[in-house]
Symmetry: C2
Subunit: 474 residues, 2 copies
C-alpha cells in the first residue's frame, strides 16, 4: 500500500465528553462507547433578568457577599442553642397577648387558611376558652375577633398545622453567643392531635393536657436537669439514622433516657400522665430542634449583605422565605408534597399542600440535608439509600459549607450541607428538598402520609432580585 | 511492509483474570491493565486431614446435612424469644443451688481463671454473703469451697467477665415455639462494675442493688407490661445503627421509652434508683439480646446432623464452640482482641484475651454479622464503614442464609448473615468476627477499650472432625 492510496480510517474506539442535553450522550452510550456527561444546564432556567441579576452579584460584589455568607454560615453552624425554659406563650413571648393565635407559615387571612390549619385554629380557640364549641370557634375566627399572627414575627416556629394561643406552653431556646431566643410549642404527638389538622375532643384534650400537666411537668424536669444542649443531642441523632425532621425518634429516645431520673422524681399527680405522653410520642424532639434552628437563624439574620437563606415556612396556602440581612419575606404558593408514601386509602388527590415552619431544619444541615444518613427517609424514596444520598448531594450543590457537627457515617463521615445560597439556588434552578408529613386536605383525618417536598423556586428568584436592588440602592 | 517481514505484535490492551496469589494480579495492575481477581485459596489451609473430612461431608452426605442446616437456621431465624420473668437465679434456674457461681465461657479451674474474671468471682462471692471481704472471697474460691460452673450448662449466657451466685436476679426468656427457656443476668452497666473485672465496693454495691432493687423493680415492670418480644426490638435497633452487641444503645433507649409508663408507676422507694441506673446504662439491652439468642440456639440444637454453629463462648482463658445436634464442646485458647481502640494509656500489652458468652449474638445475625449497618462498629475499624461492610460480607461467606428480620439499610436492605456452617468455616479458613469490649489483663482497671476479635479456627476444625466421626459411627 502506498502513501497515496491509504484510506482514511475512522478511529475504532471513541470516547465522548457530552455537555448539555443527555440525548446525545444516550446515543453514544447505545453504541457501547464510553461517554462522560457534564451536567450542564442553562443558568437560571434561561430567564434573562435572573441571569442579569446573577451577573450583577458576581465580580467585585461577589467577595463582599461571600464574606457575609461565611459569617452567616458560621453562625448557623456554630450556635449552641440551649433549652432553658418552658412556660405559657403569653408569659414568655414578648408582645403576645389578647385573643391572638400564632400560626405556622406566612401571614394569612382566615378566608385563605387551608382546611387542616382551620381545624387546628378552631381547636386552639376552644382550648383557650374563647369558644365553647368548634362551631362557635369557627364563628369568632371568621368574624375577625381572634387575631391571626404568623409565628415567625414572634421568633416562634410551629410544625405542620400548629396554631397556639397565649395559654399554650412553649419552649424557650437561648443561643447565648448570638443573644437570640426562639420559641416553639411542645410537640402534640402523633394521632388525634390539632397540629395534624384535627379538632376532635381528644385533640382539644391534648392541648389542655400540655397546658395543665405537660408544660408544668417539663418545667420541673428542666429546673432539675439544667439547660439542655439541643444540637449536641441532634448530632448524636444524625449518627443513628434520624434526619431530625421527618424522623426524630432516635434523638427523642436518647433525650428521654437522659431525663429518666428527673421524670421518675416528678410528683405523683401528673408523673404517670407525662410518662404516657412521652412514651407515645416519638416526635417529641422535633419542636426542640426547630426552636434551636430558629435561634441560630436569628443570629445569622444579623449579618448584612448575605445571600444565605434563613427561613422557609409554609401555611398550607403560601410559602415564604427570608435571607440573612433582610427584613423582607418572599412569598409564593405552597407546593404539593410530591415524593410521598401514603397510608392505605389515601393519595395525592386528598393531600393538603406542604405546611409548617419545620423547613427551617433544612437550613441548618438537618432534614433533607441529612437524608444520606437516614434509612427512614430512604424508605420514602423509590431508590432507597441511593436516592437519600442524592438528596443530600442536591443540597450540597446549593450550599456553601458542610456542618462541623452533623456528620453522616454513610456519607464518608462528611458534614451535612449547610448555608443555602440563594445565588446557587437560582443559578442551578435547584431548591432545597424538605422531608415532611402530609395532612388530609379536607376531611379532618389528620396525617395521611409523609414524603419530600421541593421548595418553590419563585420565592428564591424574588429574593435574588431583591438582593440586587438592595445592593444597588445601598 | 511485506507479509514475511511483519513483526509479531503483542496486543496493546491486556485484560487478565488472576486466580490465586494476588502477587500476579498486582504485577498486572501496576502496568495499568485491567485485572479481575478470583479470591481462590487452598481449601482448609491445605491441611490434608481437613480436606479429607470436608470431602467426606460432601457428595451423598451433603444433602442430609444441608437439610438439617435449613431446619437449624429456620429455628435461629424464626424464634420469637419473649422476656417473661425476672427473679433470683436460684429460684429460676433448675439445679442451681448452694455455693455455686455461674461464669462465662467453658468450664475452668480457679487456678486457670484470668484476672478480670477472678475479680468478678470475688465480688459475686462477697455479694452472696459467703465472704465478708475480697480477701476472704479469694481464699474460699481458691480452696474450692465455692463451686465454679460454666453458665452454658444451665442454659444461661453471661457477658464479658460476668459471674453470679444464686441470689443474683436473672431474666428468663422463653422461645415458646421451641419450648426452650434461656437465662441471663441483668446488665451491671458501664464503669465500676464486676462484669468488667472490678471488685471495688462500688462494684459489689451494684450487685447488691440489682439483687435488692433492680431485680424486684424490673419484675414489677414486667408484671405490668407483659412479655416483651426481644428480637422485635433488636430488629428496630439494627435499623438505627446498633449491631446489638458492641452497641445496644439505640435498642436500650427504645425499650426504655416503651416502658416509661411502667417505670413512672413504680413505688417510691426504688423508683428513683432504678431510673438512675437505667438512665446511666446504655448497655442494658445486651443481656436481653443474649438470652434471646440462647433460647433460639437451644431450639436449633435439637436438630440432629447439622453443621451449624450454635455456641461460641470464652472465659478469657479458653474458647468453646458447639454445633447443633451435638452435646460436645470444642475448646481452644481464647485469642486476643486484635482490631481495637483503647482508652488513653492502654494498649494490647495490657489487654485480657477475648471474654464472655456474648458471641452467641454473632450466630443469630447480630454483632459482627450486623456490622455493615453500624457506624459505631465502623468507628473501631481503620477503613470505617467500608471495613464494617467487609465484616458482614466475611460473615456471609461462612453462613448459609440471611436473616428475615434483621435488615441492614446500608447493605441494600439485605438480611444479616445467619447460620454459620462449620464446613464453610474450615474450608475457607475464615471464622466469625465478634464485636466486643476489652478488659485490663491484670490491674482491675475494668474496661480499657473495645474492638473486634476473630474466633480461633482450631475449635471449628475439631468440631468438623467430630462431625465426620459422628456420622461415620452413626
Amino acid at each position: 500500500m502506498t502513501e497515496s492510496t491509504r484510506a482514511i480510517v475512522l478511529p475504532g474506539d471513541v470516547s465522548v465528553v457530552n455537555v448539555g442535553l443527555s440525548l446525545f450522550a444516550d446515543a453514544v452510550r447505545d453504541q457501547a462507547a464510553p461517554v462522560e456527561e457534564v451536567d450542564w444546564r442553562i443558568p437560571a432556567d434561561g430567564q434573562l433578568d435572573l441571569v442579569d441579576a446573577l451577573e450583577q452579584l458576581e465580580g467585585p460584589r461577589a467577595a463582599g457577599i461571600d464574606q457575609a455568607n461565611a459569617e452567616a454560615v458560621r453562625r448557623l453552624d456554630r450556635s449552641v442553642p440551649l433549652l432553658v425554659d418552658v412556660a405559657p406563650a403569653g408569659t414568655l413571648i414578648p408582645d403576645l397577648s389578647g385573643r391572638t393565635l400564632l400560626h405556622c407559615g406566612p401571614a394569612i387571612e382566615w378566608a385563605e387558611v387551608c382546611d387542616p390549619l382551620r381545624r387546628s385554629m378552631r381547636a386552639a380557640t376552644v382550648a383557650e376558652g374563647w369558644a365553647g364549641t368548634i362551631e362557635q370557634a369557627d364563628l369568632i375566627l371568621a368574624d375577625g375577633s381572634v387575631r391571626l399572627q404568623p409565628a415567625y414575627r414572634y421568633d416562634t416556629v410551629m410544625p405542620m398545622a400548629s396554631a397556639i394561643g397565649p395559654s399554650a406552653p412553649v419552649f424557650a431556646v437561648d443561643n447565648r453567643d448570638g443573644g437570640t431566643r426562639a420559641f416553639a410549642p411542645i410537640n402534640q404527638g402523633p394521632g388525634e392531635t390539632a397540629w395534624f389538622g384535627r379538632e376532635t375532643p381528644a385533640a382539644i384534650a391534648r392541648l389542655e393536657f400540655l397546658r395543665d400537666i405537660g408544660g408544668p411537668m417539663l418545667r420541673d424536669i428542666l429546673d432539675s436537669s439544667g439547660p439542655i444542649d439541643i444540637f449536641a443531642l441532634a448530632a448524636q441523632g444524625v449518627q443513628i439514622g434520624d434526619d431530625v425532621h421527618m424522623r426524630t425518634q432516635g434523638t427523642t429516645n436518647l433525650l428521654i433516657r437522659n431525663l429518666l431520673p428527673q421524670i421518675a422524681a416528678l410528683p405523683d399527680p401528673g408523673r404517670l400522665e407525662l410518662a404516657q405522653y412521652l412514651s407515645g410520642n416519638h416526635l417529641f424532639f422535633l419542636n426542640l430542634a426547630m426552636a434551636a434552628a430558629k435561634s441560630a437563624a436569628m443570629w445569622a439574620e444579623q449579618v448584612e449583605g448575605s445571600s444565605i437563606v434563613t427561613m422557609m415556612c409554609r401555611n398550607g396556602t403560601s410559602y415564604a422565605i427570608k435571607l440573612a440581612g433582610s427584613r423582607d419575606v418572599f412569598i409564593s404558593a405552597a407546593p404539593p408534597v410530591e415524593e410521598a408514601m401514603y397510608y392505605p386509602d389515601y393519595g395525592p388527590e386528598t393531600s393538603a399542600p406542604d405546611i409548617g415552619d419545620s423547613a427551617i431544619l433544612e437550613l441548618v444541615g438537618l432534614g433533607g440535608a441529612a437524608a444520606a444518613g437516614s434509612p427512614a427517609v430512604a424508605g420514602f424514596l423509590p431508590g432507597g439509600m441511593a436516592d437519600a444520598v442524592s438528596m443530600t448531594e442536591r443540597m450540597a450543590s446549593i450550599c456553601v459549607a458542610e456542618s462541623t457537627r452533623f456528620k453522616l457515617p454513610t456519607w464518608n463521615n462528611r458534614g451535612t450541607p449547610v448555608g443555602v445560597d440563594v445565588r446557587r439556588v437560582v443559578e442551578l434552578d435547584t431548591t432545597p428538598k424538605v422531608t415532611t408529613g402530609i395532612l388530609h386536605a379536607s376531611s379532618g383525618a389528620g396525617q395521611i402520609g409523609a414524603g419530600v417536598a421541593t421548595a418553590p423556586v419563585e420565592s428564591f428568584r424574588a429574593a435574588l432580585r431583591s438582593l440586587v436592588s438592595d445592593a444597588s440602592s445601598g
